[in-house]
Subunit: 598 residues, 2 copies
């Protein structure tokens, strides 16, 4: 294992030597810094053999290193075996960041290189800073590794389709007008957006260029009186062209963006977000105009769902909850009785979702994890590595769908057989954590950093924690992870925080993971609502969108406050009320039992 | 009322006209942006008649306005009566900030003036920004109002005394060496400190130039091999001079700072903190060198108490707690039986503190507030306005002392007679809030913004809130309010947050205020400690420094979770254990009863 990759790294070193590059950086990104990338962009995986969704490879003449985060340590260790690539565990004590590593190793006169299209401007500028005053060259104009990848998949080109304004609750014209208002406020003459889901949201279009993310590779350049969409010509049907023309959106070929930005008439400051635009485009725009480097105005607009979207989302989450609940009942009944494994279980829930009206796609590959496999928070079973499921321990399923009415995401952990007292403690604390946060009342002005501890405290007080955020935003028929808001506790002064607003939706997903033993995560999606306004200010709260029972077989009331028990019972009462119209006979009896008061 | 001030504003307007100044700003500050100022600096009070500790006067040719915050609205309204000065209630809806007010009113060609020594650089730069590109002059070189104030108090000059290195736990040499390490890290050749408590901390000296704040008016300018202290010559005794010489600290006259900064040899960047240095000095340094505008390195060092300081602090808080508890018992026993009022009650606790060994001064003027007066969070009874105390309702006392072993701060609210169910609800929730926060366990890396909600949630869930922060740092024989850490929830991206570190001490003081009815605050000071370290990280917690009973007469267990009751009982058990050695006879019986389990 690892010998193919060893060979590839060796060949890359030859090419680097020819190109005069001493350190070469290969991130996991497309030209838009998307979270998930199409196979065409999986160069880091091709070179290193590491298949995780996040990681950066740095190849020097003596050492090659791979940086990835806590979700992937176990997987990366195993996949890098034999490749001679050193694993750098991000955020662990005494592990340098890539910037620190390069600062330490790169010497005067050397060159650091990368493909400037797949490195975001934020990181590029960090490198500039790191080497400021040092005689180090940053070469970003070539995809040096490209020629090594003979059977590279083709660039994706899916057909673009328009979502009706009726389904989106806002027309393209309205959205463009709001965007232009923000541009005026910031004093920007132009806005260059590279973030794919922002572009889809703005023009009420969708596509399938990235697995599970209904987006098309695209850019847009907006001026006061002109909106240009750069998109692959193969992506446009006659219908879509008509649709764009109706909305006064000019379309140009995706590949023309560079030429366009070089030649177009620039009349003032250009707004573009350094955290998603590529370093190459950033440098190009910077050479022509003064930049405003701030998050795209579309990001916050997209995050605050409008009433039409919310109505669809609520309905869509209910249908999704019905399917997942039926699947979980089936699992509890059949585990140990009929042969099943992680893959067949995932297929089962995926096919149940596919039968829901308005189903388009999964919103991410289903995480179906049995027993100790679930201890890896982002485990994915493969045809080569998967576990059989028996009538024992916990089973975790994290899954969701893309529907005509929204994007879902939900995690439940269920008991299939014997579990220990410790497992019950962990499960109960995680359930309390999820429900406490969903029940929190807070003043308008709070951000996710204020609220995260409400979920985390039940675990922290036991000296436990989960090494991931508590929550993320979710798109509307769009990416399952979206910003700008989130629920996390770490202080990162460089990342502006976003106040939680009415109409945002966010995941509430505490967990607990014990290596080689078990993994628990309980994830609901909640909607942010206004509560009472009084002399103290505008109070805000959450409302559940997910209605799926929490397995009472793992709940031990001795670990709960009376208010936790009240919350659990109130939630289960709602679950019964919402789901029971979709259940009958034996299944209805099961639902009644699964949502009984404790 | 107000006619004297009306006259003064009119005279000031004449002087402004002569000086060619259209708007004149008079803040509440000394040359060091100190929170509390000596009488010499109370120009804003002299001109406006408003005696509150915070507020800024702006005098234009047509209107004079006073800006102050929520603590002082009632007081300012009453004190400004008849003066024609308009009250601007800061942070209320539709009330402009001073910057916004000036931006709106100042026209091209006009001049905005202030005494550049009493306006901090942060605000001065804000004004520069506000008028950027506009033909507006900022005149900051004259104290125009000075000649109006005939009987102005003299500049304070108290004698400086050295705290022994033994009592401080760290020598001047050690502190200077740590400061120089930080300077090297930041690439600063020089460090100019204007913050008085930072200077006192650095040189292990104290004085009495500001009421309750043991500081001397001073500056310091530190280079690699030289540390110069600017201090009034009258402040130095032969002993202090010797002490400074022993520590290789050069002393210069306080008034020489400007000349010195104009002429001294500057060898690189100068570090100074724009939020406490005066605009005048800032501009002066800026004209000579590149600036590093960051908080003084001394601020964080001072906040993290060393083991010697902590040992003294713990002892000092215990003695202080004994005195306050005895006072509270006396109040409960005698209210309604013997004549007393807010002033006599304050005198009583002040005199009890004065008897404690090592007592130096109060750490702030005692807040002694009966019934509805306590609804003003910063109420202070005066000889003109005070209430009699009867056997009814709540009495709130917020007080503290300066001792040779530390600086204390503590608030208790006690029941003197009948209280309503609502008052019991509020009191119980505030007690739960204080105790929950003190009991919180959290991962290292948290800042006050992560934790604030732990205290606030019991109130927020009832739709209640207190309009002040939950906690502030406290000095060691220094200012009762110090940074850089704090416990608050509001997001202010321009204010960097500080991680909570082992050895910091912080107040934990939730409250509840109902206008015209009652005010409740329960304030303990807690020390930040390390708890277990495991695979999830370094857990941190708090340990109480304050041991004073929480009045059980206002506790209603129906509003508490079982864990709240456990916490209260555990705290009272500790209070009894800590205090009982200092109690005997009837008082010991009282203590036993006041700390009984509920």
């Amino acid at each position: 294992m690892g010998s193919v990759e060893k060979q590839r790294i060796a060949e890359l070193r030859k090419l680097l030597k020819e190109a005069g590059v001493d350190y070469y950086i290969v991130p996991t990104a497309d030209y838009h810094n998307s979270e998930y990338v199409n196979d065409y962009f999986k160069m880091r995986e091709f070179l290193s053999g590491f298949t995780g969704s996040a990681g950066t490879l740095v190849v020097g003449s003596k050492e090659a290193g791979l940086w990835t985060d806590g979700r992937y340590f176990v997987q990366a260790e195993s996949e890098l075996e034999g490749s001679d690539i050193v694993l750098y565990k991000m955020a662990e004590e005494n592990v340098p960041t890539i910037k620190e590593y390069l600062q330490k190793n790169v010497t005067e006169g050397q060159t650091v290189g990368f493909d400037g299209r797949v490195v975001d401007a934020f990181f590029g500028k960090e490198l500039e800073e790191a080497f400021a005053g040092k005689n180090v060259t940053i070469a970003y104009d070539k995809d040096i590794a490209a020629q090594l990848w003979q059977d590279r998949p083709a660039m994706p080109v899916s057909k673009v389709w328009g979502v009706s304004g009726e389904s989106c609750g806002m027309s393209v014209a309205e959205k463009l007008s709001k965007v232009r208002e923000k541009m005026a406020e910031e004093g920007a003459a132009h806005l260059l957006i590279s973030k794919l889901d922002d572009i889809m949201w703005l023009y009420n279009i969708r596509a399938n260029d990235v697995e599970c993310n209904p987006v098309a590779l695209s850019y847009t350049f907006i001026s006061k009186d002109k909106a240009v969409l750069f998109i692959q010509s193969g992506a446009l049907t006659e219908e879509t062209k008509e649709y764009l023309e109706e909305n006064s959106v000019i379309y140009e070929d995706y590949g023309h963006i560079t030429e366009y930005l070089k030649d177009c008439d620039i009349k003032g400051k250009v707004w573009c977000s350094g955290s998603d635009i590529s370093y190459m485009l950033y440098k190009l725009v910077q050479s022509r105009a003064e930049l405003i480097d701030k998050n795209n105005p579309t990001e916050l607009m997209k995050a605050v769902k409008n009433p039409v979207e919310l109505e669809h989302i609520r309905e869509c989450y209910l249908k999704d909850s019905v399917a997942l609940t039926k699947f979980l009942f089936w699992m509890k009944e059949n585990a140990g009785k009929i042969p099943m494994d992680e893959l067949s279980a995932a297929e089962k829930i995926d096919s149940m979702r596919a039968e829901i009206s308005g189903f388009l796609d999964l919103s991410f590959p289903t995480i179906s994890a049995y027993k100790s496999n679930a201890a890896m928070a982002h485990y994915s079973a493969t045809k080569e590595h998967f576990s059989k499921i028996e009538a024992d321990g916990f089973y975790l399923v994290d899954s969701g769908g893309q529907y005509e009415g929204g994007t879902t995401d939900v995690t439940r952990t269920i008991v299939l057989g014997d579990i220990t007292d410790e497992m019950k403690l962990h499960f109960t604390k995680v359930a309390c954590a999820m429900l406490r946060l969903a029940d929190a009342k807070f003043l308008h002005g709070c951000t996710g950093r204020n609220l995260d501890i409400v979920a985390r405290e039940p675990l922290w007080e036991c000296g436990l924690d989960y090494k991931h955020g508590t929550g993320h935003g979710i798109g509307y028929i769009l990416n399952v992870h979206e910003g700008p808001h989130s629920l996390r506790w770490q202080y990162k002064p460089e990342i502006p925080e976003t106040k939680l607003e009415e109409g945002m939706i966010v995941s509430d997903e505490p967990g607990m993971y014990v290596q080689d033993s078990h993994g628990i995560r309980t994830e609901n999606i909640v909607e942010i609502v206004k509560e009472d306004k009084n002399e103290y200010g505008q109070f805000m709260g959450f409302r559940h969108l997910t209605y799926v029972p929490i397995d009472l077989d793992a709940i031990d009331p001795q670990y709960m406050e009376p208010s936790d028990i009240r919350r659990l019972n109130a939630y289960h009462k709602m679950v019964y009320e919402k789901l029971s119209p979709y259940f009958a006979g034996e299944q209805l009896v099961q639902l009644k039992d699964a949502t009984r008061a404790v």
